[in-house]
Symmetry: C2
Subunit: 548 residues, 2 copies
């Protein structure tokens, strides 16, 4: 059995260390050490991580690195890159890193030359994308494609959607990308009403080609198309990312246009595979290869840098510090970039589906808190919405700020205002504002003393609230690739420390099974004996409403 994390010597040492560290004020730490930024910042793969505005000192970081080492992060990392079956409950290797390795860079697993297969599919994805982008691929009436609809859910949706939105300014303006995931018909319906079937290409993304939500949407899209075209036209308007050749063929898709991936690619790590086809369509083969190269640069850093100077390891260690010692239950993501509007949603899956678990890889209980809730929204919008709670709420919520130093538009003044807000919020969380400062300021504004007394507690900020700042030069394929890989490896490191298998997701099974039963009852005969009074009442109401 794995040793419980809480029993590791470094974990115990950190618990002792925390008793003092929790009293530190970051204001004082900065005042004491003018080189604090240099000590606690790191650059890799085109990203800068400034982690100096955290409640840490050199001892903290040393103990955290020791914890990672004692938990076996280095061995597990090497095992992952080597293609060992570290996804033990599903008995699979974990090789999303091989998807972005240059030619000749992948491992051989069970006699399978992973790199060769990866690059063969990548070529096919890029060729197909190039044909569609150039107008060489045409629909049934001979017109090029103007709209692409990706139908997939979870990892087959969040990755491509987030990346296409993030790389909007790098994308072909003549191809509109749409993403339909929800089994709720309002999702597909909203997309279809805007589309011309003769100029639309559907990408059906489901490894097994049996995912309930995706196949229902795919069948409805197919029926919609067949109101205009014939079955013989289907291959020009539908392609698949899947490995289930029989089902794909039966659907009416040409197997030439089925792009496979492998069981060592988890859904939430799949945007680098053929699941990234919409990305290749949007930004082109070259852009897609840059995206892979950015991630590979972060892989190389993660694989080779010592834990003390390893960006994903540092990000992971800080998360553990706040989660397991300060007791923080959530982390907020604040991208100061409008085009990263889906990034928090993407991380929600990446982090919470990977590490939102209570048992370790060997089945023993974790015993300590694991993955926090991850949430957030783009920069200045959040300031006008929920930042009130981050500044003055009763819980401490660490924040990850993300920004690009240069804009990809030419509206004057906006980018300076944006960065000023980003840096100012990080400064404000760190500094706070004590009662003396608030009183002084209100006196300078000539407020009467009784009004000052009344307002003082409301205008005081506790401060000492930690944040990370992640900067890139511009938001582009390469920097985005590196950013995603940074978080992937952060999640991996935290999973190792907690002893979790980050690559399975048994927690989604129960709801799926129950939904199948309930759907049969909603469309057929209810079985009240199978449910509680609440579920029965809900079924009865739904049946009554749907009958009308």
């Amino acid at each position: 059995m794995l040793q419980p994390t809480a029993d590791l010597p470094a974990f115990r040492a950190l618990a002792d260390h925390y008793a003092q560290a929790k009293e530190w004020r970051m204001r004082d730490l900065f005042a004491r050490d003018p080189r604090r930024f240099d000590t606690f910042s790191i650059e890799a793969a085109g990203l800068l991580l400034d982690y100096s505005k955290n409640r840490i000192d050199g001892t903290t970081m040393g103990l955290l690195a020791q914890l990672l080492r004692e938990a076996g992060v280095e061995q597990r990392r090497d095992a992952m890159f080597a293609g060992e079956r570290i996804n033990n409950t599903e008995q699979r290797a974990v090789l999303h890193t091989a998807l972005r390795a240059p030619r000749g860079g992948g491992p051989v697993v069970d006699g399978q030359d992973v790199g060769a297969e990866v690059h063969a599919v990548l070529e096919r994805v890029c060729d197909f994308a190039a044909r569609v982008r150039s107008g060489n691929w045409v629909g049934r009436t001979g017109m090029p494609v103007t709209d692409v609809v990706n139908i997939g859910i979870g990892g087959s949706d969040l990755g491509p959607e987030m990346v296409c939105k993030a790389l909007r300014t790098h994308a072909a303006p003549h191809l509109n990308m749409h993403f339909v995931a929800n089994v709720d018909g309002h999702d597909l319906d909203a997309a279809l009403t805007r589309l011309d079937p003769d100029r639309t290409l559907f990408v059906i993304a489901s490894k097994t080609f049996t995912t309930r939500e995706t196949m229902m949407n795919a069948q409805s899209a197919r029926a919609w198309f067949l109101r205009h075209g014939t079955e013989a036209d289907l291959p020009r308007h539908f392609v698949a990312v899947s490995t289930n050749a029989d089902a794909v063929r039966a659907f009416g898709i040409d197997l030439q246009n089925m792009f496979p991936f492998w069981d060592w690619v988890g859904g939430r790590y799949s945007v680098w595979s053929a699941i990234g086809l919409p990305v290749a369509l949007a930004v082109g083969p070259e852009g897609f290869r840059d995206f892979l190269a950015g991630a590979h640069a972060m892989d190389t850093h993660f694989r080779t840098a010592p834990l003390e100077r390893n960006m994903p390891a540092i990000l992971a260690a800080l998360g553990i510090w706040y989660r397991n010692f300060f007791g923080c239950a959530s982390v907020s993501i604040a991208p100061y970039h409008q085009d990263l509007g889906q990034f928090a949603a993407y991380l929600q899956q990446l982090e919470m589906e990977s590490n939102g678990k209570r048992v370790r890889a060997d089945g023993s209980p974790v015993g300590i808190a694991t993955c926090p809730v991850v949430w957030g929204d783009v920069g200045t919008n959040g300031q006008h919405a929920y930042f009130q709670l981050l500044h003055q709420g009763t819980d401490m919520v660490p924040v990850d700020f993300i920004a690009a130093l240069r804009p990809l538009h030419d509206l004057p003044g906006h980018h300076e205002a944006l960065l000023a807000n980003c840096f100012a919020q990080a400064e404000a969380f760190m500094l706070g504002k004590d009662a003396g400062e608030v009183r002084e300021e209100m006196r300078a504004q000539m407020l009467p003393e009784d009004r000052i007394d009344a307002l003082l507690p409301h205008r005081t900020f506790p401060g000492n609230r930690p944040s990370n700042m992640i900067l890139m030069n511009v938001l582009g394929p390469s920097s985005l690739g590196a950013l995603i890989a940074l978080y992937e490896h952060k999640v991996f490191v935290q999973g190792v420390v907690w002893g979790i298998n980050s690559f399975d997701q048994w927690g989604v099974e129960l709801g799926k099974v129950l939904a199948k039963t309930l759907e049969a009852e909603l469309t057929g005969t209810p079985s009240p004996e199978a449910h509680d009074a609440s579920t029965n009442a809900l079924i009865a109401r739904a049946k009554a409403a749907l009958k009308r």
Copy 2:
């Protein structure tokens, strides 16, 4: 001084009660009481709240109602509706409920006939919306408007945007609505590239007409327009929701097209006011009035129903039960409706800006936890993303499910599948799946015993995780109005129990002030002595990058 919440007799009684209640299993509670759904569900204003899947019994709910009563919820509620200055730190009344009261229904405050003013502005908003929708209002070249761009942030953005998206199927198909909030130029830039200036109407929404982000976007939009039209054309393409007549006129807007609101309307409660102009444009005057009427129906229920049978009070009480006794740090919102995709973001502002505070209205510390983090995403998408953590993570996160019984599309089968998933998830959270059940299932699948032993802990679900189910017949103006008002009043009740002034937001001030300084340094000369080493380093990097 207000009595601390933790000292109220009902709070102490609840703490004792919790010691037993925390051991209850909902499975058993349902098994014991076949009438549990009837006891713990309530209908009002077209909504059904099923709260039977909570870790409560009759005693719990009785004690919680008593807590609300001891905290003075009824008196504060009556004071709010009567127009008393319950926003004490800003010395203002709180009268968003008057915005949706029928003619003759508003209070008189300081000699001001609130109802008369509300309805006068409402008439103007509706008249204007009708003219634009009918094509009677034309742009500078005589063509009707096809695109409306709302420029506002926080409450001047989230409300209209969320509502317009939610009521998409009820909206005029010939008017495209756009929302620009972020000072990040990528936001405005993305909107402008798709627009024809001659057919675009900008709504500039800022009470003071000085909000930094909004005015920067408004000026950039104006400059873009003036590359096509002249200053004389501005009044046909720009209107304002504001009270600053001088600034609005100087911008080039006709004061006939300035729609005011009042200092007793907080930003996050303002969608019912002229800030709702985009809603009126999208769904028309009648739809907008239905929206107000739905909220008013919930107001009437909230104002008149006893706390024990009062939907917002019950929702608030359950939140307090989990926050202050179970220690839950966040609440997840799961709308099983694609068109409610922005609802969680809307609630983030409503809840966290209102109650994310650590001092009470009288300035004393709250002493107990206040507003939790609110987060979430639409239904089945979340299942394939972060529901893993909700089912098997180490923290308990209560969930609010929201669904409409009938769809507004005609794709067969989708709605049954959607509702089946929604009900199944609630059932799964409550039931869980114990080791015995999991073993039995795997044996039925003929798995070998050693494989069963290895998988057993991973496939076990603790269950006993609470949720609310909120159902409406269809998602329309009236039901959406009621739904928003439900949460508004929930937030109000929680604020009263915690002793908070839910209507100020001092926590946004510090960042604003620091951003002003930093923006001056980014565009002019840095003042390193004013900042910590981290902020200085970030400024230096930004300046270097922006210079290129």
